[in-house]
Amino acid sequence: MRMVGVIFKREFQGYFATPVAVVFLFIFLVLCGIFTFELGGFFERGQADLLPFFQYLPWLFLFLIPAVAMRLWAEERRTGTIELLMTLPVTMMQAVLGKFLAAWAFLGLALALTLPLWITVNYLGDPDNGVVLASYVGALLMAGSYLAIGSCMSSVTKNQVIAFILGVVLCFVFVLVGLPGMLNFLSFLPDPILETLRSFSILDHFQATIVKGVIDVRDLVFFGTLIGAFLFMNAVIIELKKAD
């Protein structure tokens, strides 16, 4: 665990070695603002909640998180530092986990910077803060899922653009299976299969938390499993093709 911390620290500081992180945070906050106030009709709705913000978050994350994840391993491959990392006394799982947690913490920071929205809502009205809190936890879990997928895709290639595209596509698949349109389209399938497909949807599980304001054990298990599975695959892929 100490070694995960060492990897984590280097990665996390790495975000702030260049202006990229600040630019990312800026873009994220601007887009959050546009989605919440313009598209989400934050004021017009006349309701003191953060639903407009959280509703658009899966779509915002769909592009922004693969952009954070793409460099995790592709960069190590491109610069050859993967050879350095893998010949240090660090296990594969420690390296994968350390990098993942650093990126997750960075996304957590991005989410934390939207707290002024919460303050605004509290100033303007009397929102159900329990729901907001659950939504934030749900958003963090969703971010982790996207990130695990993106990290896994980043380990496939040394080209960050390819890693980004693969990440977006795969994340999109996990969103798509829960969209009503998609489910209608697939309605020729037997119900159990349809239900199974639907249960794989990141969108579905996220909406369950933000609308109900309850973090269900099933949602926790879903996000946890998704993250675990993709990080495991991530480690396996690196182990198999370290040298390419």
């Binding site: 070694m3 060492v6 620290k9 280097r10 500081q13 790495g14 070695a17 260049t18 610069t79 050859g80 530092t81 050879e83 350095l84 893998m86 010949t87 240090l88 006394p89 660090v90 296990t91 370290k242 040298a243």
Partner: protein, 314 residues
């Protein structure tokens, strides 16, 4: 301290490393020679646990690199080919990070970092981002990282590549200095380096181990081993040939181009033994300006061994 048994690595149909075995003991500096693509780096990558061997085992201080990777890697310092580094970090941060990966407490880490920085002379660039460093400095940061934890086993892939002559000299003395208490493997393209620092040479070509011996023995394979080169005034080649015919054959070695009236000839002993006394006796009638004994030429041995192998295959 390093023991390699029947190590092979296949990439698809290509046998990059083919059944290579050798061992390196404490106090030895093993030079790894071979043409590009011979399998030097691949072998090193397997010893350091980066690549998984297709067959065979590699042991570092008794730990199987595949079965006990963490224990093996703890005993190992490695400078990978091309000295890859994190471009956004500074050498200071990077080395402190490496110290914490190696499990050193903060104070000890700082002490060791200061020590190796001194040793490889990084002082001036400690706070510069590593992507802005010159090739020579990058190589030295990589080297600093490799020796940071004072490992009993060092694997250095082309440690002097890209360094200027002064830096090469420094790195070589550093390696010689460390060699007493460590087992060191280094690969190089520079043949003089082998003579300068290595106590043993391994020549590998097309994945196969061709030669494993001391540099002196390798030199003895050269046609030039024990040959005598003389500079003679005037055009006296035939006379010279007649004089030493019993003990040596004569070849003109300045390309037929006498400079300042001096012709250069190389006398190859007929039986491979030292011939200087016999030769100097027989040269009495000639105006010899310079005479010296050749030790042998590694580049010639290298060429013979590596091309002979490819010819016998084709």
């Amino acid at each position: 301290m390093i023991e390699i048994r029947n190590l092979s690595k296949h990439f698809g149909p290509i046998r990059a490393v083919d059944n290579v075995s050798f061992s390196v003991a404490q106090g030895e500096v093993l030079g790894f020679l071979g043409p590009n693509g011979a399998g030097k780096s691949t072998t090193m990558k397997m010893v350091t646990g980066f690549l998984t061997p297709s067959e065979g085992t590699a042991l570092v201080c008794g730990h199987d690199v595949q079965k006990e990777p963490i224990e093996a890697k703890r005993k190992l310092g490695y400078l990978p080919e091309g000295a890859p580094l994190y471009p956004d970090m500074t050498p200071r941060r990077f080395l402190h990070w490496a110290a914490s990966v190696r499990g050193m407490p903060k104070a000890e880490g700082a002490r060791r970092v200061a020590e190796v920085v001194e040793r490889v002379q990084l002082g001036n660039v400690l706070d510069q981002r590593m992507e802005t460093l010159s090739k020579g400095f990058k190589r030295r940061v990589g080297l600093a990282q490799a020796i940071l934890h004072d490992p009993p086993v060092l694997v250095l892939d082309e440690p002097t590549d890209g360094l200027d002559p002064n830096q090469k000299h420094e790195v070589r003395s550093l390696i010689r200095e460390m060699s007493r208490e460590k087992a060191i493997v280094l690969s190089t393209h520079i043949l003089e380096e082998v003579d300068a620092v290595c106590s043993r040479v391994i020549l590998i070509a097309r994945g196969k181990l061709l030669v494993d011996e001391a540099p002196r023995e390798m030199l003895a394979r050269s046609r030039y081993h024990n040959a005598v080169t003389v500079h003679v005034r005037g055009d006296s080649g035939e006379e010279l040939e007649r004089a030493v015919a019993e003990v040596a054959t004569v070849e003109r070695s300045d390309g037929g181009d006498s400079q300042e009236g001096l012709a250069q000839y190389t006398l190859f002993p007929r039986n491979g033994q030292p011939i200087l006394p016999q030769v100097s006796e027989r040269l009495a009638g000639l105006e010899v300006v310079d005479i010296h004994v050749e030790g042998g030429r590694l580049d010639e041995v290298f060429r013979n061994l590596t091309t002979a192998d490819s010819e016998s295959r084709s």
